[in-house]
Symmetry: C2
Subunit: 552 residues, 2 copies
């Protein structure tokens, strides 16, 4: 899309890669703390960014010795720990591609993504070995397993090594290669739309530029004096970029492992004086409830906290008000997706405005961030004005926006339009770049910050011999934001078709709808498609039951 | 220096150019104010970034109609005004190269730079026409003059047009081209070293990446709710990047023209509620004196101000203390140069530290910024450790660091070392990336934020028939930081050699030393070079006389 350079500038040809992050860890922020939470009692492990840089090099040297070459894919099935952080920088900076496996996918989807990525090595938390090892027989490209932690693991059909042995090994004279910034650095599959997961292949450049964008004081605005608690799993859009942003800023980084319950979070914030965090609203609502139950002592422990940037789903206004009132914490909304990283828009507050005027912005998606461009396109393909009223699908472009899906360059070409990414989100944009989401692509349900594919659920239900047709839509839910609700037309008038049990083997447990509503026929639009808008309008009730198996 | 891409990432190929800044002005910050101060009484003109974007396009269309093509150079001889801002974006975004002429250079140097750049058009403030027009006969490449403002101008040997006529003209169907990010965007000559000025040819990419780096909350940290007063001339390293950084952030921008006296500054800050500014310490020391004389009323007017980032010379500790104590303003130091932009290092404070511990950092150059790398190299070419003690010349690399000088790729190759820029600054770096300057290249004197070349002064003095040899060094000066001091050996014992008068026609007036000290011989080092270190050590006295002709 670019024209020829007429007169090239005479600036240095310095590549935007993760290698600079390692330089900065070692040379600017070597004493910055990295804390990993090891259990729900608050036991923790602590090291420094200087050590992370050193061990990243050692890991890279070990992988090089094992025959890993630039461009090879290495998968991680891991929670947020310092080892996962070292895997990030060690793998990417040696030119290999880090595939962060979404461990919440159904087993069959995990197998599918590992095979699609052709991962040569899987780096697996010891506490996830029971999940991964039984699948290895179906993953022919995986030559080796590297286990994080010292826990026992099952037998495996390929060699198994311990992460620490690789990350502690003498690197000899190994040096990180000088990488082209357009090289692939990481691979993350999104389950946001119909069909098989789609892989976003992040370049070094996109990660570096995104980190710089996020560093802006109106965007994520992390300072060196912050203590960042990274609650977003590192397998979700690069942990919303925090492993890069925090290390670039030199902020202390607290990695909670899988210990994200309210009691653990509260303890972690108090013990490590966390000032800044992020995540989906659900876990922070739980934290508020915990604080309410714990009284002044619980409240005092949260005193260091100053800012939360929440996303993945709409941020409830009540949550914002209560954090501000009870804990003096600023909560703002951010909007992103795997294809554009997390910070496409952020709802920064303006101290010149009143609390109420700010609140009107804090709950919507946010104001578009630097070096992201956006347009609205309606169903007819007409670009809509940014007037705060006109609706359209949000399309995005920028240096940190996906331009294709991995190995689906042709098949998924319809997700792109003349160089713009089609996000699937329907929204409005006002004259000052504030984005409001008003609807989503028909086939996605967002539950606890995770996507559920209604099309996949429908496809699975269709396999049942009694199901004539079915449609799954999202039902509003106070706790999970949305839960799937299935409308089914049965071929026979049976009292119970056992649809829940039928789905159990086919989709993740937490995808299974709580409610299957029998109807005579699925309503259709004039063009013959299922009228999901009408079906959604029937679901006006909400409840707050705790749903077994939903994501925590 | 980069290896081949093994597996390219699949992100969009979106270029990092100034075109995105125009998109953002129009789509995100169209109502942001841009104020130009018109006189010392505080008269001002106000418009918006939406208007700046619109008029930049119109200017580009007009220049295109005049035959300007991508890669052509257009000079500006102008103070900080909204017209200069429009010239920045209009010229760069159409692919032409904006040469910001340093109007404080001596007339012969101005002619030299315009001829070296081969500027096709000069955009000149009406109040600078008397300076520029007499030089046009010696500038054969200049085809046309564009005058900013409505003031009378002298006759000129080339066509003269008014800026507003071009920036208001109907753009027709002109659209900005899609530029390669490595295209040249701007050209800025540095007079920091010996010999002729050297041109730094900034690429679009370097400007965009530098803007993102500076946006970090620990770097310049400008937010949308700030009101930025840009006191640094836009012909100095792109006005320290503020025209880009402020418009990207959407902060209100106040452009003071040439009205930088203390009374004007105080009035501007009060009238426009300035929160954030920058510049050389001199003007801010003057402001403090003005406030002292004006009492509470003067102090109250400065209440909106919260932060100053000062640079160009060491920031006096007393200045920092008094701004903090009397005005509740945080003053920190930044370090840069034309070749690396302003923000190579910034001395961000840390609220966890005591005032005194922070102060120890605030006056030194600063902590190295993201995506800048640095090393220290001693006289023998040995890379020195970052231990806070070892000294060496600071060498820099990064995406916003010059890789060569314009049309001096070979001649000035000695200013680069294996891909690193030799800054000429001697310093130390500690284990956490804090840079302290301990000396400078022997041949530069910094006076009021501007460079004086001691070699050029020496060369001019040598032309005097009575001068046998001479050496010029910087003498510490409370007001200007340094003033040149000449040591001369005369061939005859005359009472007055009239050296001041002799220099008057050869160098800028403010370069002329106040003191010419006669000595019998210039001391020499063991290798036979002038021992300027010894000469400097003799100059221990300081004074605060106002020096006629020094830069204001």
């Amino acid at each position: 899309m670019t024209m020829t350079v007429t007169v090239p500038g005479l600036m240095q040809d310095f590549p935007l890669t993760t290698n600079h992050f390692l330089w900065r860890m070692a040379r600017v922020n070597p004493r910055t703390r990295v804390v990993t939470i090891l259990d729900d009692e608050g036991t923790s492990d602590e090291t420094t960014l200087g050590d992370v840089a050193d061990r990243s090099l050692r890991l890279a040297a070990s992988l090089d010795r094992l025959g890993i070459r630039p461009g090879d894919r290495i998968g991680t099935v891991a929670w947020n720990t310092v080892s996962h952080l070292i895997a990030y920088f060690g793998v990417m900076s040696m030119g290999a591609v880090l595939h962060t496996v979404n461990l919440r996918l159904h087993a069959q989807q995990i197998v599918w993504t590992v095979n699609h990525a052709e991962d040569r090595i899987l780096i697996v938390d010891d506490n996830l070995a029971e999940l991964v090892f039984p699948l290895l027989a179906d993953m022919p490209t995986v030559e080796r397993i590297v286990v994080i932690g010292g826990g026992d693991v099952p037998e495996a059909p390929v060699p198994v090594q311990r992460f620490d042995a690789l990350a502690d090994a003498d690197p000899g004279d190994y040096r990180m290669p000088e990488l082209d910034e357009r090289s692939a650095a990481a691979l993350c599959y999104t389950s946001g739309t119909t069909g098989d997961p789609k892989g976003v292949l992040y370049s070094h450049r996109s990660i570096a530029v995104h980190s710089l964008i996020m560093s802006g004081s109106d965007v994520f605005g992390i300072a060196k004096h912050d203590v960042v608690l990274a609650t977003v799993p590192m397998f979700h859009a690069m942990g919303w970029g925090l492993p890069f942003l925090a290390t670039m800023a030199g902020a202390d980084l607290v990695l909670p492992g899988r210990h994200l319950g309210a009691r653990s979070l509260a303890r972690t914030i108090a013990a490590h004086r966390v000032t800044w965090s992020t995540g989906v609203p659900t876990i922070w609502m739980d934290l508020l409830r915990h604080v309410d139950a714990g009284g002044d002592a619980a409240r005092d422990g949260l005193a260091p906290l100053r800012k939360l940037i929440l996303g993945g789903t709409k941020v409830p206004e009540d949550l914002i008000r209560r954090f501000a009132r009870d804990l003096d914490v600023e909560v703002i909304s951010g909007w992103g997706m795997t294809e554009i990283f997390p910070g496409g828009a952020v709802a920064a507050t303006d101290p010149r405005l009143s609390t109420e005027d700010n609140l009107a912005h804090q709950t919507i998606a946010g104001r578009i961030s630097p070096f992201y461009e956006l347009r609205l396109v309606d169903d007819e393909g007409i670009v809509q004005p940014h007037d705060g009223r006109s609706r359209g699908e949000i399309q995005m472009r920028g240096p940190s926006v996906a331009g294709a899906y991995f190995r689906l360059e042709d098949e998924a070409a319809d997700r792109f339009d003349d160089g713009w990414l089609r996000t699937g989100d329907i929204g409005t944009v006002d004259a000052e770049g504030w984005v409001t989401l008003v609807d989503r692509s028909k086939d996605m349900i967002k539950s606890g910050g995770e996507w559920i594919s209604s099309a996949d659920l429908e496809s699975a239900l269709q396999n049942h011999e009694l199901v004539a047709e079915c449609a799954v839509v999202g039902r509003p839910d106070d706790r999970w934001s949305e839960r799937p609700h299935a409308f089914v037309v049965l071929t026979e008038d049976v009292p119970d078709a056992n649809l829940k049990d039928f789905l159990a083997g086919q989709v993740p447990k937490w995808w299974i709808p709580e409610e299957f509503e029998r109807i005579d026929a699925i309503p259709r639009t004039t063009t013959g498609k299922f009228d999901k808008k009408l079906l959604r309008s029937r679901l006006t009730h909400t409840d707050d039951r705790v749903i077994e198996g939903a994501p925590a």
